[in-house]
C-alpha cells in the first residue's frame, strides 16, 4: 500500500471518529431528562387506550370533515369484496344543504390508479353511488376512502376512512 493510500485511509478513519465524538458531545449537551418514569410501558398503555379506527368493512363509520361538519359513510354489501359492485352511501350533518359529495379510493403506499365516484343526492338527504374496488395482486386488503364535500359557497372539506376487504 502506498503512503498516499495510507494517508487517505487515516484521514477517513480520523474523520469518522471525529464525527462520532462530536455527535456524542452535542447529544450530551442537549440531552433532556426523562419526564416519564417508564416511557415504553406508558406508550403501550396509550396505544391500548386509543380507540381502534373505524373500519368500513365492519359497518358504517362517522368522521368529522376537515373544515367543519360531519359525514357518515357506509359501504355494502358486507363483507366487502374486490371486483364486485358495491353500494356507497353517505350522509352529512352540520353542513348547509346542497353541495357535491365524492369518494376517492386509494391504498397507502401502493399506486392503484384514480378511482373516484360521485355520489348522487337522494330524496332523504343522503348521497349514494356505485363503486368497484380492484384486487391488489400483492395480497393487500387495506383501502382508504377519502370523502370530499363541496358545499355551496365553501371550499372542499374532506374526511378519511379505512376499510378492509375480505378478498
Amino acid at each position: 500500500m502506498t503512503a498516499w493510500a495510507k494517508l487517505v485511509i487515516g484521514l477517513v478513519v480520523a474523520t469518522v471518529v471525529g464525527v462520532i465524538g462530536a455527535t456524542v458531545l452535542v447529544a450530551s449537551k442537549v440531552r433532556e431528562e426523562t419526564v416519564v418514569e417508564h416511557p415504553y410501558e406508558e406508550g403501550l398503555k396509550h396505544t391500548e387506550r386509543r380507540p381502534a379506527p373505524c373500519d368500513l368493512g365492519a359497518g358504517p363509520c362517522t368522521a368529522p370533515l376537515e373544515g367543519g361538519g360531519e359525514v357518515t359513510l357506509e359501504i355494502g354489501p358486507r363483507p366487502i369484496r374486490t371486483m364486485k359492485e358495491l353500494t356507497v352511501r353517505g350522509s352529512l350533518r352540520r353542513l348547509p344543504a346542497g353541495g357535491e359529495v365524492d369518494v376517492a379510493f386509494s391504498m397507502a403506499g401502493m399506486e392503484m390508479g384514480p378511482n373516484r365516484i360521485v355520489l348522487a343526492p337522494a330524496a332523504d338527504g343522503t348521497f349514494s353511488g356505485k363503486a368497484v374496488l380492484v384486487r391488489c395482486p400483492s395480497g393487500r386488503r387495506d383501502w382508504v376512502a377519502e370523502v370530499s364535500v363541496v358545499a355551496p359557497g365553501a371550499g372542499p372539506r374532506t374526511a378519511r376512512f379505512h376499510l378492509g376487504v375480505v378478498e
Binding site: M83, E111, G113, R135, S138, G139
Partner: protein, 222 residues
C-alpha cells in the same frame, strides 16, 4: 374524452415508475437479461415487441370493457385466465433466470443426447428471444393481474364505448412503456457488460423472483 385519455397516459407514466417498475420490472429485466447475448439492437427490438404485445392486449381488454360497459362481468370472465397467466409468468421468469445462470448450456448437452422436443422448447424459453418470440409473449402477459391496469379498465368500462375504452387503455399502456423500457435497457446493459459471474448471480436472483411470482399467483401472500 381527450382529458380522460391524457389522464390515462399520465396515470400509466407516473404510476409505472413506482408501481410497474417494482411489480413487473423483474419480469421485463429477466427478458432483457436473457436476450442480451443477441446484441443491443435486437434485444431492444425484442423489448419493444414485448411492450407492443402487452399494449395490444390492454387495448383489446379496454375495448371489451367499453363495449360491454361492465367491468365486473368482463373481469370475472378473465379471472381464471389471469391466474393461469400469472403462473406462466412465474414459470417463464424461473426459466429465464436459470438460463442466465448458465443452465441452458447444460440442457443443450442433454438435448443433443436425448433429442427431446420438450427440452428444446424449455431451452428456447430460457434463452429468451427476439421480436417474433416476444410479441406473442407480450400479448399473453398483458393479461397479468395488476391493480393499476384494472383501475384503468374500470374507467374504460365507465366510458360505455368501444373506441373510447380502447383509447383509454391504449394511452395507459403507452404511458407505462418508458419506465419499463428503462428497466429493460438496464437489464440489457448488465447482460452485455457485466462479467459472467454477475450475470449468473442476476439469473439466480431472477429465478428466485420467479418463484415469488409463482407463490403470489398461487395465493400465498408474502
Amino acid at each position: 374524452m381527450t382529458s380522460a385519455v391524457a389522464m390515462a397516459f399520465v396515470t400509466g407514466f407516473l404510476g409505472s415508475f413506482g408501481h410497474c417498475a417494482a411489480m413487473c420490472g423483474p419480469l421485463v429485466g429477466s427478458l432483457a437479461l436473457a436476450a442480451a447475448p443477441l446484441g443491443t439492437r435486437r434485444s431492444l427490438a425484442g423489448q419493444l415487441a414485448y411492450h407492443a404485445g402487452r399494449i395490444t392486449t390492454y387495448a383489446a381488454v379496454g375495448a371489451a370493457m367499453g363495449l360491454t360497459g361492465s367491468f365486473v362481468n368482463v373481469a370475472g370472465r378473465l379471472a381464471g385466465v389471469q391466474q393461469a397467466v400469472a403462473i406462466a409468468a412465474g414459470v417463464l421468469m424461473v426459466l429465464l433466470g436459470l438460463g442466465a445462470a448458465g443452465l441452458s448450456a447444460g440442457l443443450k448437452r442433454l438435448e443433443a443426447r436425448a433429442s427431446g422436443k420438450v427440452i428444446a422448447l424449455v431451452r428456447g424459453m430460457m434463452e429468451g428471444g427476439g421480436p417474433s418470440r416476444l410479441y406473442p409473449t407480450g400479448l399473453a402477459l398483458g393479461l397479468l393481474p395488476c391493480g393499476l391496469s384494472w383501475t384503468v379498465f374500470l374507467g374504460a368500462a365507465g366510458t360505455g364505448s368501444l373506441p373510447e375504452g380502447l383509447l383509454l387503455a391504449l394511452a395507459f399502456g403507452l404511458g407505462t412503456t418508458p419506465s419499463l423500457l428503462l428497466v429493460g435497457a438496464a437489464g440489457t446493459a448488465v447482460g452485455l457488460r457485466a462479467r459472467t459471474v454477475l450475470v449468473r448471480a442476476g439469473g439466480a436472483l431472477v429465478a428466485l423472483l420467479g418463484v415469488l411470482f409463482l407463490l403470489r399467483a398461487a395465493g400465498v401472500v408474502l
